[in-house]
């Protein structure tokens, strides 16, 4: 008898079983490798396309603040200074440097080397310091996007002139600037200090970031307290009956509703019924709040459920009321989980585009929003719009905006992980 058993144990393990286990391990490993490589590809493409948007070409010019052009009367009135033709100062300086006359047939090509909006830089300079009038100053002006892209190597100059955005004459001029050391590459501050623009070289994400921030602020202010208190009530106080079951099922359903439906709801309820301003972060925030509410409720309930009943009973047996037991003992233990869930829900809201589509937050808004009722756009919406533009410079800005959005999301998720690890208690 004992011999039989021993022989049985000593026979080699069924090779079929080992193969199955090995196969399963290989499948799992390859799935992870596949996912990781996709992630790496995604990040490298976005980064390689987007990193160049973080620096920018400037052209250093000797600008002669000609008094006759700016303020012929010498009265220094604000309106005069405001309306003076500063573009002319730039073209004069360009022509002077390149030794051409303004009647030159290709003078307009030369003018377009400098960003169209650069006259604003000069105007601000003069308004800040009217004494500058009559003097000549070296000023770094933002180059047009075509110059910038050419210098970044994004324009193929070997193709015939009529097929590219930059002419031979312009290239010649750029070379001349370059040899004189007048071409500078600086950190692209504009990207973070300006809002959307028709000109890619002066467009930035500030407006979108502030819009996103306002949206998120409104969403958090509304969804976090409502979600958490609803979850506490449902999980701890509500009687388990058909009504609560029905509510629970519907909260789970709500979490699975496509976000564009929430956008439609926002459009019909908040804009058409309550007449809140269209395109404003308050409406966006309300819609995102509705969208993240079910997630917050579900996560909070799960965190409360994870706190063992022994804690509740312990507090109640000491004479705490149910509410005291929950608020003094259970909720502090559930807080790390709740925080994590809330941050992840809000991170999802931050990256949401579809509902914003319906409430008009996908629009060209060059002004930076000040209040939550101002027209604004959001980061994902900005990405969506920039991706639509044909200019090469917007392609790199799209990627840059994606990088900025991703870094916000990574920071939020890192925060969630940190909170979970730091404050989670074991028992």
């Amino acid at each position: 008898m004992s011999n039989i058993i021993r022989n049985d144990i000593l026979t080699p393990v069924s090779s079929k079983r080992t193969t199955k286990e090995k196969l399963f391990k290989i499948c799992g490993l390859s799935a992870i490798i596949f996912a990781l490589s996709m992630l790496v590809i995604l990040f490298t493409t976005i980064f390689s396309k987007g990193y160049s948007a973080f620096y920018q070409t400037r052209i250093k010019l000797d600008i002669n603040f000609n008094e006759e052009l700016i303020d012929p009367t010498g009265a220094r009135e604000i309106t005069t200074l405001n309306t003076a033709d500063y573009s002319k100062l730039i073209s004069q300086s360009l022509f002077k440097f390149l030794n051409i006359d303004k009647s030159h047939p290709k003078s307009s090509e030369i003018k377009s080397l400098i960003s169209y909006n650069s006259f604003l830089t000069l105007r601000d300079r003069v308004l800040n310091d009217p004494d500058i009038i009559g003097k000549t100053k070296k000023i770094n002006l933002i180059a047009s996007d075509d110059v910038d892209q050419m210098l970044k190597g994004n324009i193929n100059i070997s193709i015939p002139e009529e097929n590219r955005k930059i002419t031979d004459f312009q290239i010649e001029a750029i070379e001349k600037f370059k040899s004189n050391g007048n071409i500078l590459t600086v950190f692209n501050k504009t990207l973070f200090t300006k809002s959307d623009s028709r000109e890619p070289e002066v467009s930035g994400v500030l407006g979108a970031i502030i819009g996103s921030f306002y949206c998120l602020f409104v969403a958090a202010c509304i969804s976090v307290p409502i979600g958490i208190f609803a979850a506490i009530f449902l999980q701890e106080f509500a009687k388990k009956n058909k009504v609560t079951d029905f509510i629970e099922i519907n909260i789970n359903n709500l979490a699975a509703v496509p976000s564009i439906v929430f956008g439609l709801l926002g459009l019909s309820v908040f804009i058409n019924f309550f007449h809140l301003p269209r395109s404003s972060p308050i409406v966006g925030g309300l819609v995102l709040a509705l969208m993240s509410l079910p997630t917050i409720v579900i996560v909070t309930r799960a965190s409360l459920l994870a706190v063992p009943d022994t804690i509740r009973n312990g507090a109640i047996a000491l004479g705490a009321s149910k509410m005291q037991a929950i608020f003094n003992q259970v909720l502090p233990l559930a807080t790390p989980g709740i925080c994590t869930g809330v941050i992840i829900a809000l991170a999802r809201a931050l990256g949401e585009t579809a509902p914003l589509l319906m409430i008009g937050m996908i629009a060209f808004i060059p002004d930076t929003p000040i209040a939550i009722t101002d027209p604004a756009t959001a980061l994902p919406a900005q990405i969506f719009m920039w991706a639509d533009h044909p200019e090469r410079a917007f392609v790199e800005r799209t990627s840059a905006a994606i990088l900025i959005l991703l870094s916000f999301l990574i920071v939020m998720n890192a925060m969630a992980i940190y909170i979970r690890h730091k404050f989670e208690k074991k028992w």
Partner: protein, 289 residues
């Protein structure tokens, strides 16, 4: 009577030296004699408990004496825990649980509509099967309930109470240098004594213990049993246990529950040596349960 005791102790400590047991039994006998003059702390009258309309505990009547340890024994699911939870109205927090009957606690029916449950639970403490200290510091574990009930108002009062409660639970010497460390970092037995200290911090006159030693090793169990012995000088203790030897060691009275009914309730010695009911005999001799 004395012979019953000797028999009883022989039964639970087979093989131990006879003379030593005799001494113990005599002291126990004296104690018993004293206890006959004790007053009734809890009078349970016709208590029935229903879960979703299904009867879980049926018509319990028993009187529990002051400064005595009463052990509740019986197979799993016989309603011991349900019954003990009636005494501090912990069943109130369970949904669809209804309790019928009366429990007089010092002449007050605790199921009267005007009874303050919070006050009731501060005079009837409870210790659970699994040690459940709050994941906070030892100090905070102790002061939580007294603060809640407004017993302590200042830091010095709190310090004093923490020391007093921990000393009574026999834990102070072990943890006095780490009062600010988490209560969950203690060993299982220490955690259970912390829970006892937490319960006695509000000075309850009754302590309910629902299998307090079931998750502890024999040494920690012995410490808790000693603690129970010293606690009963000031308090009344009701303890659920699955360990027959433990019931015999710590209690004066034993109640045997089966299928939601109180089968037999009398002196521990009687239950273990001369039970009236066949079922009791079957259970204590290990024939079922």
């Amino acid at each position: 009577m004395l012979w019953q005791y000797i028999l009883d102790i022989n039964l639970r400590r087979n093989g131990e030296h006879m003379a030593k047991d005799q001494i113990i039994s005599i002291s126990k006998f004296n104690k018993l004699k004293r206890s006959t003059s004790l007053k009734i702390k809890l009078a349970v009258q016709n208590i029935s408990v229903f879960y979703n309309g299904k009867m879980a505990v049926e018509n319990i009547n028993m009187n529990i004496n002051q400064n005595e340890v009463t052990a509740l024994i019986g197979p799993s699911g016989c309603g011991k825990s349900t019954f003990i939870r009636c005494i501090n109205r912990m069943n109130d927090v369970i949904e669809n649980c209804t309790v019928e009957g009366k429990i007089f606690f010092d002449e007050t029916n605790i199921y009267d509509s005007n009874v303050d449950v919070v006050k009731l639970r501060s005079s009837i403490g409870m210790v659970f099967q699994k040690p459940n200290p709050f994941p906070k510091s030892i100090y905070e574990n102790i002061v939580y309930a007294p603060k809640l009930h407004g017993i302590i108002n200042s830091k010095s009062e709190a310090d004093e109470l923490v020391e007093k409660s921990l000393t009574e639970a026999g834990l102070f010497e072990e943890v006095k240098d780490r009062l600010n460390e988490s209560g969950t970092g203690l060993s299982g037995g220490q955690q259970q004594r912390l829970c006892i200290a937490r319960a006695i911090a509000v000075d309850p006159s009754i302590i309910l213990m629902d299998e307090p030693c079931s998750s502890l090793d024999p040494i920690a169990t012995a410490v808790i049993e000693e603690l129970i012995d010293s606690l009963k000088k000031k308090r009344t203790i009701i303890i659920i246990t699955h360990n027959m030897q433990q019931a015999a060691r710590v209690s004066e009275k034993t109640a045997f529950f089966h299928l939601g009914k109180l089968i037999e309730f009398s002196n521990t010695s009687t239950i273990f040596t001369n039970p009236k009911e066949k079922r009791t005999l079957g259970y204590i001799t290990g024939r079922f349960g």
